[in-house]
């Protein structure tokens, strides 16, 4: 029970890390290697608001999300749309996007270094124990888990119940045919990209309550997000959630029962096994 809850909390954190990238890669078709930097940006905003004005990170997210949304919209419109326009195939766009966003990640790190310095963003918020089913857990992790559940549910419902959600899913399935039925692909792709960035930055603000971040830690989160998105299946929200929770529970199980030194090995073993049997990911479509 203890392992399950700890694992779920960690899985929730992973879902926050990976959900945004899934939207960006699955729908906007941009493999965004600057994803982690957006997360660190959100974390920094929370740190800064908390240390400068004692504003709770849970309130800061309402500032961070729109700011990140606008920022990502601009990034997509200015930097990535020309790549989308000139790309003749999905493969070419993927290569171009990887190169462009790889560069963007360096630029982002440089900007954050110049603005905030290289020091750790360190603060303590809700670092109090709570008792669930007889065991103690950190309140900040539980809070982040609740937020992760809300965000994932909102994204899932929006994609499945709303009209733009339906259109966005259509783009994920068949970007070329979607245009033929009157879907404004460029606008919705920008929307998905911006939304993904907003979710990632929100995740960063929430995770900064218990992760120690600095300007150049983004790449760690990009890697983790990549593993989860590929494992869950590109373009499917359910896949990302399931993969994130599975990874969280597995890592906690290995750490608690076998040895904490083997968590990374176990995580990548799971990754390999899933790719061996389902190369398209848990919920991915074959040939997508």
């Amino acid at each position: 029970m203890d392992i399950l809850i700890t694992g779920l909390f960690l899985g929730g954190a992973y879902a926050l890390i990976a959900m945004g990238l899934n939207l960006q890669y699955g729908i906007a078709r941009i493999m965004n290697l600057a994803n982690g930097e957006m997360l660190v940006f959100g974390g920094f905003a929370a740190f800064w608001m908390y240390t400068a004005a004692q504003v709770s990170p849970l309130l800061t997210v309402f500032l961070v999300a729109p700011a990140a949304f606008a920022m990502n919209w601009v990034i997509y419109s200015v930097m990535l749309r020309p790549l989308v326009r000139r790309a003749r195939s999905r493969g070419q766009l993927e290569v171009d996007a990887i190169l462009a966003t790889f560069g963007l990640s360096f630029v982002s790190v440089g900007i954050m270094l110049a603005l905030f310095g290289g020091d750790y963003f360190n603060y303590s918020y809700l670092a109090r124990p709570i008792t669930l089913a007889g065991d103690t857990y950190a309140l900040n992790r539980a809070t982040a888990f609740v937020a992760a559940v809300l965000i994932c549910a909102a994204v899932y419902l929006w994609l499945n119940l709303s009209r733009p959600g339906l259109s966005i899913r259509a783009i994920a399935v068949a970007p070329d045919s979607a245009r033929l039925v009157g879907i404004d692909v460029p606008r919705l792709a920008a929307l998905a990209f911006a939304l993904g960035g907003a979710i990632t930055a929100t995740g960063g603000a929430l995770l900064s309550m218990f992760f120690t971040l600095d300007a150049s830690t983004g790449v760690i989160f990009t890697l983790k997000a990549l593993v989860i998105v590929i494992m869950g299946g590109v373009g499917d929200v359910r896949g990302t959630i399931v993969a994130a929770l599975a990874l969280g529970i597995l890592e906690t199980f290995v750490a608690a029962v076998i040895d904490p030194g083997l968590t990374l090995a176990a995580a990548y073993l799971l990754f390999i096994v899933i790719l061996l049997f389902r190369p398209q990911g848990l919920f991915g479509r074959r040939g997508a």
Binding site: D2, I3, T6, F9, L10, A13, V109, L113, G117, G118, D119, Y120, N122, Y123, S124, A127, R128, P129, T136, Y137, A138, R141, F210, F211, T212, D214, A215, S216, I220, E251, T252, A255, A256, D259, P260, G261, T263, L264
Partner: protein, 401 residues
């Protein structure tokens, strides 16, 4: 044609004037190369310990008119490179400073690994390398191989040994029991310290009731802390790196780990540690320490805070600044910018620094350094050293409130 001639003449005239004017305007400057992480895994630590001291020192030197070399004042010009916490980049940057930028002196890089990676390059180009953030047990071997390599920060076996001594004394005085939980980050630093510590603890009669390692960057350390707590230790020892030093301490607070001694390694001495944990930091032990009451350290801390906007840490910051003071005093003392003469001067003389006097032994090692510190009140105070003055008595960890 005519216009071209005029242009040519003007250009020639300007050049000639420039040439004539040059010696009159020129100011003597020393090019000082600085290499260290601005990005990558160690950037957070370097931003506390490495870069602010370089900024502080170069500002102070230039404000007082430069370094005195045989009666001539040399201003310093610092050329900085980011090595991205990548040893290959450290080597490339040091090589570039030596061959292309024509650096007169190069400051030692940051951390044990990056310093050792760059040592052969410093040696090949004949630059003295005064390390202040490298900690190793192979000092004699290394300084034999690289004669201009100096060590300020100390040796791992002493750092570990002094920590065990403190625990032994507390146990023998009947203040705590015999059971130790020891964890380490699975990285060169953590593995070496844990491997050094284990036989020393066992030799001192301690029982290791929990022992594990965890990967660098582990996102959730609560399983480690829960297992450690379940083993009911009297002392918790972690050979940890900055992100996990914070992570383990936070989990200990949440789990209300009931130990008499709580020890975490790198970053325990950072002001940000106290900033984050506040009163809960009271009584936490860690690597390093300073004589927080000494006037020279307090003066240094005040200047550091005023110039860089952040307080120095209570371990390597002072040593980093001391390495710069030693370089400056050696250049002035030798009266030349000849690097071999400066290196020889460092070996032959003792220096007055913010951390107290420094006199390198025959292995280019500074024999007197702080090994264990503890948060007591508003400072991380040295409780054990290998010959520094001002140690305070260790106290037991009394809860997390």
């Amino acid at each position: 044609m005519e216009r071209r001639t005029i242009l040519k003449t003007t250009a020639a005239l300007a050049m000639a004037m420039g040439l004539m004017a040059a010696p009159a305007l020129a100011q003597e400057t020393l090019k000082i190369g600085a290499v260290g992480p601005k990005t990558g895994p160690l950037a957070g630590g370097a931003a506390v310990t490495h870069w602010p001291n370089i900024a502080l020192w170069s500002k102070e030197v230039n404000e007082r008119g430069g370094i005195d070399v045989g009666g001539t004042k040399y201003m310093v010009e610092v050329i900085e490179y980011d090595d991205q916490t990548n040893p290959a980049e450290t080597i490339a940057a040091v090589t570039r400073l030596a061959t292309q930028d024509g650096a007169d002196f190069i400051l030692a890089p940051y951390s044990t690994g990056l310093n050792l990676a760059a040592a052969p390059i410093f040696d090949r180009f004949g630059y003295p390398q005064i390390t202040s953030t490298a900690s190793t047990d192979r000092v004699a071997e290394l300084s034999g191989q690289f004669p201009n390599l100096f060590f300020l920060l100390g040796q791992n076996s002493q750092i570990v040994g002094n920590a065990v001594d403190i625990l032994s004394k507390l146990r023998d005085a009947g203040e705590m029991g015999n059971k130790i939980a020891m964890v380490n980050v699975a990285d060169a630093f953590g593995i070496e310290l844990a491997a050094t510590a284990k036989p020393i603890f066992e030799g001192a009669g301690f029982e290791l009731v929990y022992e594990t390692s965890y990967p660098l960057g582990t996102p959730d350390l609560s399983p480690v802390m829960k297992a450690a707590k379940a083993a009911e230790p009297d002392a918790f020892i972690a050979w940890s790196y900055p992100p996990d030093t914070f992570g383990l301490t936070e989990q200990a607070i949440i789990e209300d780990l009931n130990v008499k001694v709580f020890y975490t390694a790198v970053a325990t001495a950072f002001p940000a540690f106290k900033g984050r944990f506040g009163a809960a930091a009271e009584g936490i032990m860690g690597i390093g320490g300073v004589n927080a009451e000494s006037a020279s350290f307090q003066d240094y801390a005040a200047r550091h805070t005023a110039a860089t906007g952040a307080a120095p840490d209570y371990w390597a910051s002072g040593m980093m600044y001391a390495s710069l003071q030693i370089l400056e005093q050696a250049i002035t003392g030798a009266g030349t910018i000849d690097r071999a003469a400066v290196a020889q001067y460092i070996k032959d003389n003792s220096f007055d620094t913010v951390m107290g006097p420094v006199d390198f032994d025959e292995n280019n090692n500074n024999p007197a350094y702080w090994t264990v510190g503890q948060w007591q009140g508003d400072a991380f105070r040295g409780v054990a050293s290998t010959g520094r003055e001002g140690a305070v008595a260790p106290m037991l960890k009394a809860g997390w409130k």
